[in-house]
Amino acid sequence: MTLDPGTQPAPRQRPHLVVPTLEQLAARRLRRRTRLLRPAYWLPFVLLVAVLGFAWELGARRMPYLFAPLSDIVSVLREDPGYFLTNTLVTLGEALVGLGIGFVAAFALAVVVSEVGVVRRAVMPVAVVLSVTPLVAIAPLLVVALGFGMGPKVVLTALVCFFPILINVATGLRAVPSPVLQVYRTVAASRLEVLRHLRVPASLPYVFASLRIVFPLSMIGAVVAELSAAGSADGLGSVIQVASSQNRLATVWAAIFVLAALGSLLFWLVTLAERRVLHWHES
């Protein structure tokens, strides 16, 4: 292949690189693309799933009051997917609304806490204690106080999510290295400018760390609140409560599996968003 030397860009001097030939390049590309197809990648996982499935079936025979056969669970899901879908959406809605409210409130308080020392010294010790308290335990009280509607579910979810977000974001907002602060203080940046341009972006890794914790927690909050108000409303927690009281084990397990799938999906979405937003952060 000959090209007019006049139109060809000057070859860049890169003596430190070994440039592959076209055949090598093709081979390497193929190797990289088919990496996931190699047994070393998928076999360990598949084996473990198979072992777990086998153990499950064994459990279903020995302890029929705890496990349902996988085939029953699958057929329950296939018989009425609409039933599971509506209930899933209800639970998901409660969880996300609660999480959203909790997030906005926690972020706002984190900003105040990071800016005002007096507030920080008052709030943070309380926040640390409450973040290790199993707040889901107040679900029955919330149901009594707020009724059987969406209220107690959203409130419980927001409450459960609030403290982990508050603690992480408050830490993140103060994670700006002091030389950086000094550079911007010598140009007399206002507190608001420091917050907007330095503190909030610096807190993003902490925000995502808290989201990874809080998305699964939000599901737990919503489900526990539903369990405490069984039969009164929709949602996977109600499904579980009603089905277990009627000894329909397959339905209970089907709902739990849906919750697991939903939790993984949310976790995966957070990871995906994190990769997009935090491309600058090595993690």
């Binding site: 950086v180 550079v183 140009v187 940046a189 330095l198």
Partner: protein, 263 residues
């Protein structure tokens, strides 16, 4: 607005220690820096070099004495964006590109901004032309520090404060950056206060070298460096250069022994 003069009279700075005694970080500092001069501050660690910079830029207040910058208090000078500061670590924001990092200081305290020079051209001038849109994590140590220097120069400050900016760099990078620093400075002729612990760096860059001693932090000597500019690489091997290095070394040794007598 031209360059500035820094004046310090009888400046004293104390730090309270863990045992409640007070450490004299700086004692009775008198220092006048003429407009447009390049002044280095050299001395062993703990002699208050960085404290001096923080006082000039208004980050800290002295217990006694007066400091004026351009006839203003340090705080007012900072409000007027009179300062450009280069810390020892480059202190870049990891989520902003090179260009974003040098632009951001113009987006804060806008009222006092002195207008944005062609920052891209400045970055190109120091060899960062291909890295304008790279993130700090993709840069070498020298490139990061060059970005930090352009960030400071880009503000068109009256006073540039540099706190051991090349301390963490290897010898070759350090010398290349000294050259680029001088080139940028020739164009702006801002007043520079440059903290260093390298004798040859101080001689190469400065019009005046202020020698400090620790415990308590004080000025022991001021040496004028009367070498022609521009000062290129060849100067480093000339006999005049060596003579200044020797003189400075002697002065520093005195500063050290003083310190030992006191403690």
């Amino acid at each position: 607005m031209g360059s500035a003069t820094i004046e310090m009279h009888g400046v004293r700075r104390l730090y309270e220690q863990a045992d409640l005694s007070e450490l004299i970080a700086l004692d009775d500092i008198d220092l006048t820096i003429e407009p447009g001069t390049f002044v280095s501050i050299i001395g062993p660690s703990g002699c208050g070099k960085s404290t001096l910079l923080r006082l000039i830029s208004g980050q800290e207040k002295p217990e006694a004495g007066t400091i004026t910058v351009c006839g203003l208090t340090p705080k007012e000078a900072a409000e007027a964006k009179a300062f450009g500061f280069v810390p020892q670590s480059p202190a870049l924001l990891p989520w902003l590109s090179v260009l974003g990092n040098v632009t951001l200081p113009h987006k804060v305290n806008r009222r006092s901004d002195r207008g944005r020079p062609d920052l891209e051209a400045m970055l190109r001038e120091v060899g960062l032309g291909e890295s304008l849109h790279k993130l700090p994590a993709e840069l070498s140590g020298g490139m990061k520090q060059r970005t930090a220097i352009v960030r400071a120069f880009g503000l068109r400050p009256d006073v540039l404060l540099l706190d051991e900016p090349f301390g963490a760099l290897d010898e070759f990078t350090r010398e290349a950056l000294q050259e680029q620093l001088l080139e940028l400075w020739e164009q702006t002729r801002a007043t520079v206060v440059f903290v260093t612990h390298s004798i040859s760096e101080a001689v190469r860059l400065s019009d005046k070298v202020v020698v400090m001693a620790p415990r308590p932090g004080r000025i022991t000597d001021v040496i004028d460096i009367d070498l022609p500019r521009p000062r290129h690489q060849e100067l480093l091997t000339s006999p005049e250069f060596h003579a200044y290095e020797l003189a400075l070394r002697g002065s520093l040794r005195d500063a050290f022994s003083h310190g030992e007598v006191v403690s």
